[in-house]
Each structure stands twice: as structure tokens, then as C-alpha cells.
């Protein structure tokens, strides 16, 4: 049985991913400490989504390894540690918001599931729409539900690939508050977003990629957008 406070460090060593003859990720050594939010930045094609895919366990690395504390990437139990918000909502349209959460909650074996669902529906502002089919939701509402799905099992590693897509200002504020709470709980949060202002409001650290290689890894001191521009120069505009 898992649960309680999170607190693992995620490490990649020599991580590489090859697509046909091209490397999307090259010999990446990176550390994502517990209780931090890491902003994952880079221009298009830098390898952000590939890294997210590997960290989520949906993709296999061609080289190198990922460790989630003591758990290896190949270990099926690694999946229980991960919460993932991707480019797509990953929801079942015919099911209501509550049914979507109940289904995924059962697959994760969340105990006290009904209470957890009601809590999260309230947190993401969908309590009144809980019984509407997800297919009837606007993009922003679907994104709120997606965030609730990712937070449902209390992940120790929360991967956020463009998590603010479709959210209005109140939605962005809600998401930033919830992601911050996950970090404060001790989770590792990795966030890739084009919204540097919102990401900067959360990020303690940054990992900046350029053509699959690490261009910067370290703390965020000051303005994230400035750090990004200083690291990538003219490529930052891409």
C-alpha cells in the first residue's frame, strides 16, 4: 500500500532517445529533487515531449536510465508513482467527470475514492458539472478534469506537458495553486509550458534543452523568461 507524504528524487543518467536516425534526446543527465517544481523549457523539437514521454514510462529510452528513487524505469511499479497531464485530455467523452475519475481511481486503487473525487472536483471547480459527460465540456473544463485525473492518486512525480492549455485566467490560477500544493506535499513536479509567466510563478528549478541536449540545469533565481533568453539566445524566440 502506498500513500502519505511523497519524497523521491528522479534521476536520468545518459538518457538518449533515437527516432529512426535522429536523436531527440542525447546523453541527458538530470536530477529532479523531491518537493521542487522544475520548468522544462526549450524551443520546438528540443526534446521536451520525448523526455516527458520517457519519464511517464509511456516511452522507452534508447540509451541510459531513469530512476524514481530506488525504482527503475522498467519496473511496472514505477507507473504508480506518476501523474501525467499531456497534450491531449486522456478522458472518456461518454463518461461523466465523476465516472472518469472513479474509473481511473479504481485502476490506481485509491482508497476512500468517493471522498477523494469530491475533494478534487471541488478543487478544480467542477463540482456542479460532475455528472455531465466529459464530451460536453469546453476545452478549459476538460483540462480541469484532466488535472484532477492526474492528481487523483497523489502522484510522487507529476508531469505537466502544457497543462494550462485552454484554461482561462481563473483556471490558470487554480492550476498554479494545485501544482504548488503538490510540490509542498513533497512531489516532484516537472512542467513544460509556453506560458513562462505562470511557469515562472511556480518553478524552483529549470532544465532547458536545445536540440536534445541539456543547455541549462539549475535553480531559477529571478525571471524565468530572462534565464531562458540568456541560455538560448536567438533560439529562444523559436
Amino acid at each position: 500500500m502506498t500513500g502519505g507524504a511523497a519524497g523521491l528524487t528522479v534521476r536520468t543518467r545518459g538518457l538518449g532517445r533515437l527516432y529512426d536516425d535522429d536523436y531527440a534526446l542525447v546523453a541527458l543527465d538530470a536530477t529532479f529533487p523531491a518537493g521542487t517544481v522544475t520548468a522544462l523549457l526549450g524551443p520546438n523539437g528540443a526534446g521536451k515531449s520525448t523526455l516527458m514521454g520517457i519519464l511517464s514510462t509511456l516511452m522507452r529510452p534508447s540509451e541510459g536510465e531513469v530512476r524514481y528513487g530506488d525504482v527503475s524505469h522498467d519496473d511496472p511499479s514505477a507507473r504508480a508513482l506518476v501523474g501525467y497531464v499531456g497534450h491531449r485530455t486522456m478522458l472518456y467523452r461518454p463518461l461523466s467527470a465523476r465516472e472518469n475519475l472513479r474509473f481511473f481511481g479504481k485502476l490506481y486503487g485509491v482508497l476512500d475514492l468517493d471522498a477523494r473525487i469530491e475533494h478534487l472536483l471541488g478543487e478544480v471547480g467542477l463540482a456542479r458539472d460532475a455528472d455531465r459527460p466529459a464530451g460536453d465540456f469546453s476545452r478549459g473544463m476538460a483540462q480541469r478534469l484532466t488535472i484532477a485525473r492526474a492528481l487523483l492518486p497523489g502522484p510522487k512525480l507529476l508531469l505537466l506537458d502544457e497543462p494550462l492549455t485552454g484554461l482561462d485566467r481563473a483556471g490558470v490560477a487554480m492550476a498554479v495553486r494545485l501544482f504548488g500544493a503538490e510540490r509542498d506535499r513533497g512531489a516532484v513536479v516537472v512542467m513544460a509550458s509556453h506560458d513562462l509567466a505562470a511557469t515562472g510563478a511556480l518553478a524552483d528549478r529549470a532544465l532547458i534543452l536545445r536540440r536534445g541536449r541539456k543547455a541549462y540545469e539549475g535553480p531559477v533565481e529571478g525571471d524565468l523568461a530572462v534565464l531562458y533568453r540568456e541560455t538560448l539566445g536567438a533560439e529562444a524566440a523559436a
Partner: protein, 241 residues
């Protein structure tokens, strides 16, 4: 800059479900979504009924010829409606990328595939429960003496078809032109089941030279078992890029 912490309680306690529970949870979800949308069963039934009418009006002849046509008509309906079914069950999973979230969960992945195979067997069986009696009526073929044998053959055939088609649908779902690709891959793979089914049904109806339908039944069962086990074993690799 850090936003203030919310009143979020500690992470919930979790206990990943066992194998059987995972199968039941996925089955219940699929049943609920299908009952709500009725898309897959409606398409399969419609397709099965169209085929029934084509066979009935295209081939109806004297009773002896109708008896010879009946096995091919039944198994043809299973093949086409079944292919439509396996394609649709995964098209829904691909919609909005829900399948990604499904395989990301800690639930046993082969249990997810087993549930999907069971869903496809159930859908094909339901369609055949409507199509076969209708075919028998329209072709004026009396199945009363061999209904149990025909039912067993079709049920085993549905298992064999789903065991082959479901893992292939998983692989095709992320491909471009999945709906075109799936039949191209599935049809050659299920041809042995189709041949065994048609031969077995011909024996059951008394239109074949052989008199023992059991070798065909055993072959159909073994085919489903081997491909089902292979799919369950390889599913982990199929869903990880």
C-alpha cells in the same frame, strides 16, 4: 516565487487492483460507455444485417444450395462485423488519448487487453445472436438439429477473432489510416479461423464430406488460445513506444 500552499490533504492511500479486479473495472467501463453511446454495437449490427440481406437475396436458391451457402454467410458476417467491432473499441480509446492514461495506470496491462478481448467477444456474440437466426430464416436453413454445435463454433470463432484482432487493433490505433490498416493486417491473420469455422459449420449442417466437426472446433479453440496468450504476453511491449 512560490504560491501559498492549499489545504490539500496528504496524498491518498492506494492499493493497486489485482488482475481480476482490473479486468472487471475495464469491462464495466466499456459496458457503460457502449450502453451510453451504442455506437459500436449499432454499427456492427447494421453491417451484419446488410450482409445478411445481401447473402439472402444474392444467393437464395434451392434448399441444398442454401445449406452450402449458410456457413460462408455466417462466418463472413462474423469476419466483417468483428473487424468493425475491434476497430471501433480502440478508436474510442484513441479519442482524446484516453488509452495513454489507461496504460499509464499501475493496473496490469495484460488484464486491460484481456478485458478488451472479452468486450469484443461479447459484441461479436451479440451480433451473431441476431444475424445467424435471421440468415437461417431468410435462407430457409433448419438449424434445429445442430444449433448448439453452430453456437459453440461461432463462440470459439469470436474468441479466436478477438484474440487476434484486439492486439492488432491496439497497434493499428496509433497508426495513420488505422481503419484501412486494420483489415489489411487482420484478414490474413484470421483466415485459418475462418476456414476452420466454415468447414466445421459445413460438417455440422451435413454438407461436407467429413462427418466429425470436432477437429475444426479444436483447431479454432487452439488458435484463439495461442494468439490470446501471445497477445497477453506481448502487450506490455506493444503499448510502450
Amino acid at each position: 516565487m512560490s504560491p501559498p500552499a492549499s489545504s490539500e490533504p496528504a496524498a491518498p492511500r492506494t492499493r493497486p487492483p489485482g488482475y481480476v479486479r482490473t479486468v472487471l473495472v475495464v469491462l464495466a467501463k466499456d459496458a457503460r460507455t457502449e450502453l451510453r453511446s451504442k455506437q459500436t454495437i449499432a454499427m456492427m449490427l447494421l453491417f451484419g444485417l446488410v450482409l445478411t440481406f445481401v447473402y439472402a437475396f444474392g444467393f437464395v436458391s434451392d434448399p441444398a444450395t442454401n445449406k452450402k451457402v449458410m456457413p460462408g454467410a455466417m462466418w463472413g458476417a462474423l469476419l466483417f462485423a468483428g473487424t468493425l467491432g475491434v476497430g471501433r473499441t480502440f478508436a474510442r480509446e484513441a479519442e482524446d488519448g484516453a488509452f495513454g492514461a489507461l496504460v499509464l495506470s499501475p493496473a496490469e496491462r495484460s488484464a486491460i487487453l484481456l478485458a478488451k478481448i472479452a468486450v469484443n467477444v461479447a459484441l461479436s456474440t451479440l451480433v451473431m445472436l441476431v444475424v445467424v437466426p435471421l440468415l437461417a430464416i431468410m435462407l430457409r436453413v433448419d438449424l434445429s438439429g445442430c444449433a448448439d454445435l453452430i453456437a459453440l463454433q461461432l463462440f470459439l470463432g469470436a474468441i479466436g477473432f478477438a484474440a487476434v484482432g484486439t492486439p492488432l487493433a491496439v497497434m493499428a490505433v496509433s497508426a495513420r489510416f488505422a481503419e484501412v490498416l486494420l483489415p489489411i493486417v487482420v484478414f490474413p491473420m484470421v483466415t485459418p479461423v475462418l476456414i476452420a469455422g466454415v468447414k466445421g459449420a459445413s460438417v455440422a449442417l451435413g454438407t461436407a464430406i467429413e462427418t466429425d466437426p470436432w477437429p475444426w472446433l479444436q483447431f479454432t479453440a487452439a488458435y484463439g488460445l495461442v494468439f490470446g496468450a501471445g497477445g497477453l504476453f506481448l502487450f506490455e511491449r506493444m503499448v510502450t513506444e
